[in-house]
């Protein structure tokens, strides 16, 4: 009995005794041993070496040091929702991650990726690139930064000397902050080429082009939060549950409050599982399906006739086409969707207005992607949903800053802010940059090359492989710089390794460059350089979410290992190339701990503020953005507007367009083209960007249609000095403004005076007030056309709906359409299954970063193919079997079969985040030591086929063909 008393009263001795006992038995594990043993218990030796056991020690060492905890508010880097994260940092180590309930975008919520963000700050067993490396004699060798920079820049300058600046191809990144993306475009311009691009090309370039040409701006019209105001939400080509999980917080909230959710997809996605109505559609039949909806809408008179009269151009022509061509039987033939289902969807979105359409890469990645997205726009215009809260086209973008990088970043056909690359645009930007236009012109191979759109990232391999006489520049590409981009996200992987083999120089700048590195090492012995960049958690800057809200990321931790922020590296390169003074003329320079010069992100943003009038990146000063981050709790979740507090009246993140100077205090625009609000309250109307009339038809808005409170309650063109003078508003400008604005329009007036007077004094929209275009006459298909994919499973439909004719010099390259389609017309006999691809919730993009994160990698350990039980049984494939997926390129992927009704018979689905296997072989030996991700698998794009959009060169990944056999 004594023992009981002792045990219960003397806690301290108990613990000691138990430890002795435990030691004696050898069965009690302390945590470290526990971690170790449990890791080994997994059995897979490959995983064991990757486990983050020792990371804990590092974090703990810091904890024991007991330093002050600093909380940095940063933004998740894994998708475009823009979830805030509070990083708790102690002694420079990111020790904890806390949810930010205050954020109106995510209210503390995270998906698997966001909840695992802290792993980025863990150093031991990290698969990051830790120091510069080069491939020498087939082996990876460590280099010093000095040596690496010298070798890389010397080689580049030599190539430039021999073959001109266009021989180097710069692939930027949609994971760069706005400042880095912007600086990248500037940097490439000073190098002297338009040969630069980034992820947006292969995710939403068709959207940006299609949507901008319909009504003005190439972006999501509303916001994730605005889903809460929708009465019906049509997901067509988006699997938000996996690609944008936190957006579903708002969507499911809307559903709870009566919104109808409709999902149309070749797969019964997880989003479909949450839908009220699901329609299975044949991949690639989107235009036909949307026009099928329109057929019922027009037939039943459900269209918003007054809205169309006032605000839409060309709907009559579309209606004619739809009624004649897209009768229910034809829709069913092309899409496989019976009339009754199409009718039901049409009725649901018509009766529950405002309704919205959501899309992502399901619509864009087709050879007629620009037509698909425009058909979606037309659908929303017909229903009168655009420019309304709860309506609009909600285009879910992929990477965390793909919207911002598109807006101000390295596009081959445009300078920051969609200013284009005509001479006037160059001159304008030289003025902003404070450099001599003539000097920039001299940097280019010729003035002609300065105004010629560059090669796109989807086609750089052809820039290398194509015969020189066929390409529209002097030299083939000889060097490629992968600056934050994965290789496995571009199609035709088999040809990519050929291109890599042929290059003189391949430079990869990335925290996780290993997929590119391994692919290159597989076919090369030398000439590959890897430079470690840090992640966005290790630097600061602004990032634009898909809903156009800008958020400021605080630096959570110092750059790990020897990595450097991308903008620091750009300046370092510029130094070697001799244009650092020009590049950093307007920036404050900060020395980092190693003595490198870092252009301060705030000052880069101020330069963006000073130049990007077109899309309203001018009001978002670093101070205003930081104020928003500090006062997130003052913003309403449904409207995104601050109630009281220091940001009173602002919309969260000053969603662009946030016009005028920061001092003008424009609140940002939560919903584009919304006439129910005053322009100074974020209201607007469609943009006058395509002239005032077309073939005698008025393109400006009809009388009575204008933003609330505008002095001009009718259509008007965009504002310039002449219009101001004509209207008698010129004298509203200050003297200083007059001086600057003379001879300028609202986009080029660096004083912002024209915008101020137009908006603040007269409530008018500086970009004019016009109609949206249902007919985009400058596109190959003015009215969107269904065109069969290049690799179609339906030879009969190829005859009825053929693709475009081949193009000779399109983004500097010959591009094939009909030739490919005709040559492969009957290929479906051999390759009968439609192959489509998409996202998994645990991974993002090329996936190297997430597959290196043990917390995420554990959840998706095998590359797989989803196959319908019928197709599986026909081939004798059982769940979990390895199968060979072979496409017409003869590339073969060895993947695990996931037999599921999720895909319909005749369609297979593969996720696109994997890499590290090459046609059945693990590429582990080609990875730089210690930087192979935990999970490796076949990259679907090793096998994807040829096919590019006829406007933007978007690759066709969503519809191709394959066959499957048991491995």
């Amino acid at each position: 009995m004594l023992l009981t008393k002792k045990a219960s009263s003397q806690a301290g001795t108990r613990g000691r005794l138990s430890r002795q006992v435990a030691g004696y038995l050898g069965n009690t594990l302390d945590r470290r041993a526990f971690l170790k043993r449990s890791g080994l218990a997994v059995g897979a030796g490959a995983f064991a070496t990757q486990l983050p056991f020792a990371m804990i020690d590092k974090a703990e060492a810091a904890k024991q040091g007991g330093g002050e905890t600093r909380v940095a508010r940063t933004v998740c880097t894994h998708c475009s929702v823009g979830c805030s994260i509070d990083a708790h940092v102690q002694n420079g180590v990111w020790v904890r991650q806390e949810p930010v309930f205050d954020s109106p975008l995510n209210l503390g919520a995270h998906c698997a990726k966001g909840a695992a963000a802290r792993e980025h700050g863990m150093t031991d067993h990290s698969a990051r690139l830790k120091y510069p490396m080069k491939l020498e004699g087939g082996k990876w060798k460590k280099l010093s930064w000095d040596q690496a920079m010298k070798e890389v820049t010397d080689k580049m300058l030599a190539i430039r000397k021999d073959s001109g600046p266009d021989a180097v191809y710069w692939i930027g990144s949609s994971k760069h902050s706005n400042e880095q993306a912007y600086l990248m475009r500037k940097f490439v311009s000073f190098w002297g080429t338009n040969n630069c691009d980034h992820q947006a090309r292969i995710c939403h370039s068709t959207t940006v082009a299609g949507v901008a040409n319909t009504w003005g701006y190439g972006a999501m019209t509303n916001s994730y939060n605005d889903m809460q105001n929708s009465k019906a939400i049509l997901f067509l080509g988006s699997n938000a549950c996996e690609a944008h999980p936190v957006s579903m917080l708002h969507t499911l909230h809307a559903k709870e409050n009566g919104a109808k959710i409709i999902v149309c997809d070749p797969r019964f996605t997880r989003t479909a599982a949450k839908a009220d109505y699901f329609v299975r559609i044949r991949s690639g039949g989107d235009v036909a399906f949307i026009f099928g909806l329109l057929h019922h809408i027009f037939k039943n008179g459900w269209e918003d006739k007054e809205y169309i009269r006032q605000r839409v151009y060309g709907m009559d022509k579309v209606k004619e086409e739809v009624m004649a061509k897209w009768t229910p039987d034809k829709v069913q033939d092309v899409t496989g969707v019976p009339e009754e289902q199409v009718y039901t969807v049409a009725k649901m979105i018509s009766e529950n207005r405002p309704s919205t359409i959501v899309w992502a890469m399901g619509q864009t990645q087709h050879s007629n992607g620009n037509a698909v997205v425009r058909a979606s726009c037309i659908l929303e215009l017909a229903l009168g949903n655009v420019g309304k809260s709860g309506g609009g086209t909600n285009i879910y973008r992929g990477h965390d800053n793909v919207q911002g990088a598109t807006d101000v970043g390295p596009n081959p056909d445009s300078l920051p802010g969609y200013y284009g690359i005509v001479e006037g645009s160059w001159k304008y930007w030289c003025r902003v940059w404070g450099v001599d236009f003539e000097w920039v012109k001299k940097q280019f191979a010729s003035p002609a090359m300065m105004t010629k759109p560059g090669i796109t990232v989807s086609r750089w391999i052809d820039g290398v492989l194509e015969k020189n006489e066929n390409i529209d520049q002097d030299s083939n590409l000889r060097a490629v710089v992968y600056w934050g981009h994965a290789p496995n996200s571009q199609t035709r992987g088999k040809e990519m390794v050929e291109a890599m083999k042929k290059l003189d120089l391949l430079v990869v700048i990335d925290p996780y460059p290993s997929a590119t590195a391994a692919m290159a090492a597989m076919v090369r012995q030398d000439g590959v350089y890897l430079l470690p960049a840090c992640t966005q958690y290790e630097t600061s800057g602004s990032v634009t979410a898909s809903g156009r809200s800008l958020q400021w990321r605080e630096r959570a931790i110092e750059p790990l290992f020897e990595s450097k922020p991308d903008h620091t590296l750009m300046l370092a390169f510029a130094k070697k190339f001799g244009f650092d003074k020009e590049l950093a003329k307007n920036y404050k320079i900060v020395k980092d701990k190693d003595g490198w010069d870092e252009p301060e992100p705030e000052s880069i943003l101020r330069e963006i503020n000073r130049g990007v009038w077109t899309i309203g990146y001018t009001g978002q000063s670093p101070e205003r953005l930081k104020l928003h981050m500090k006062n997130q709790h003052t913003f309403d979740v449904k409207t995104l507007r601050a109630k009281g507090g220091p940001c009173d009246g602002d919309y969260y993140g000053l969603p662009w367009p946030c016009y005028g100077t920061p001092e003008m205090k424009h609140p940002g625009t939560p919903h584009l083209y919304d006439t129910s609000k005053h322009v100074m309250d974020g209201g607007g109307n469609f943009r006058a960007n395509f002239g005032v009339e077309k073939d005698g038809v008025n393109l400006l808005a009809e009388d009575g249609s204008a933003s609330k409170g505008a002095d001009l309650q009718f259509g008007y063109p965009e504002f310039d000095h002449l219009l101001l003078k004509k209207l008698g508003w010129w004298d509203d400008l200050t003297e200083a403004e007059k001086k600057e604005a003379e001879g300028k329009n609202w986009k080029t007036d660096l004083s912002g005076g024209i915008i101020r007077v137009t908006m603040k004094n007269h409530g008018c929209h500086p970009f004019g007030n016009a109609k949206a275009r249902a007919v985009v006459w400058n596109f190959p298909d003015p009215i969107p056309q269904h065109r069969e994919p290049l690799y179609s499973p339906r030879p009969d439909l190829v005859d009825k709906y053929p693709t475009h004719d081949d193009k000779k010099a399109f983004w500097r390259l010959p591009t094939l359409y009909k030739t490919i389609q005709q040559a492969n017309k009957d290929i479906s006999k051999e390759y009968p299954l439609i192959m489509t691809s998409g996202r998994l919730v645990e991974y993002e993009g090329g996936g190297e970063e997430q597959r290196s994160n043990p917390w995420l990698a554990e959840l998706q350990q095998d590359m797989f193919v989803e196959i319908n039980p019928k197709d599986a049984n026909d081939r004798g494939v059982k769940a979990g079997d390895y199968v060979w997926v072979e496409t017409p390129t003869k590339a073969r992927l060895k993947v695990k079969a996931q037999v599921t009704e999720r895909v319909g018979a005749g369609t297979v689905f593969l996720p696109f985040h994997f890499s590290g296997w090459w046609m059945g072989k693990d590429m582990l030996e080609y990875y730089p030591p210690g930087s192979a991700p935990i999970v490796r698998g076949e990259a679907v794009n090793t096998a994807t086929t040829y096919g590019y959009d006829s406007v933007t060169m978007m690759q066709e990944t969503k519809t191709t063909l394959c066959k499957i056999a048991k491995a």
């Binding site: 890791g39 024991q64 904890r96 919520a109 949450k274 917390w855």
Partner: protein, 211 residues
């Protein structure tokens, strides 16, 4: 008096596995051990629904009843915790738990499973709160910081609610009123087909069809 509970809303859960990685992150759980998991019923076909499951901190916890060394206990907040120093690794809690919550770090030949590990509702264990020893054995103690489990706080669609049973039942009940369905609370009652003992207020008022 707070009685800590989890509620997983199958109408909202989208199987994003955020709760799984939030748990890994907060407690630095090694590969192969998962205190929480998301299970999807009817995967890929109409009716698909997902549920996040971990230790449900049952009122009448079977694991406590069967533990041969009385290592599992219940705090005054209704959180089921255990003492790893006492645990003999017999696996009885694993047999008894309907949710598969207890985890063992070893493969178990000759019954050598190691010390049981499970969801602590982010409340640590019998060591000084927030201490190094507590973190190593049980993970972080958020409860003592006035915070709730990381999984629930970070749930992408707020499908997983964690906290004072009364408060989260209110949140849940409110939702059910708005959407008019999905009142079936996932938990002990679901496991045994009978309402949970001692927790009548756990069930929201708006009862739908409950099987």
């Amino acid at each position: 008096m707070a009685r800590m509970k989890f509620i997983s809303d199958a109408e909202r859960c989208i199987e994003c596995n955020g709760c799984v990685t939030a748990c890994k992150n907060e407690h630095e759980i090694p590969w192969g051990v998962n205190r929480r998991r998301v299970v999807t019923i009817d995967d890929g076909i109409p009716g698909e629904r997902s549920i996040s499951v971990a230790c449900m901190h049952c009122s009448d916890a079977p694991c406590i009843a069967v533990c041969p060394v009385d290592t599992i206990y219940k705090t005054t907040e209704g959180i089921v915790l255990h003492d790893k120093d006492l645990c003999i690794g017999c696996g009885y809690c694993f047999y008894a738990c309907p949710f598969g919550a207890p985890q063992f770090p070893q493969d178990g030949a000759f019954g050598l499973r190691g010390k049981m590990d499970k969801c602590t509702f982010c409340a640590g264990g019998p060591e000084a709160d927030g201490s190094e020893a507590e973190f190593k054995k049980y993970g972080r103690n958020r409860i003592s910081e006035g915070k709730l489990p990381a999984c629930a706080e970070m749930c992408s669609t707020k499908a997983l609610l964690g906290g004072d049973g009364d408060v989260i039942a209110d949140i849940y009940r409110n939702r059910v009123v708005f959407r008019g369905k999905g009142s079936e609370v996932w938990g002990w009652g679901t496991a045994y087909g009978k309402p949970e003992k001692q927790q009548p207020q756990q069930q929201p008022a708006a009862q739908g069809a409950k099987s």
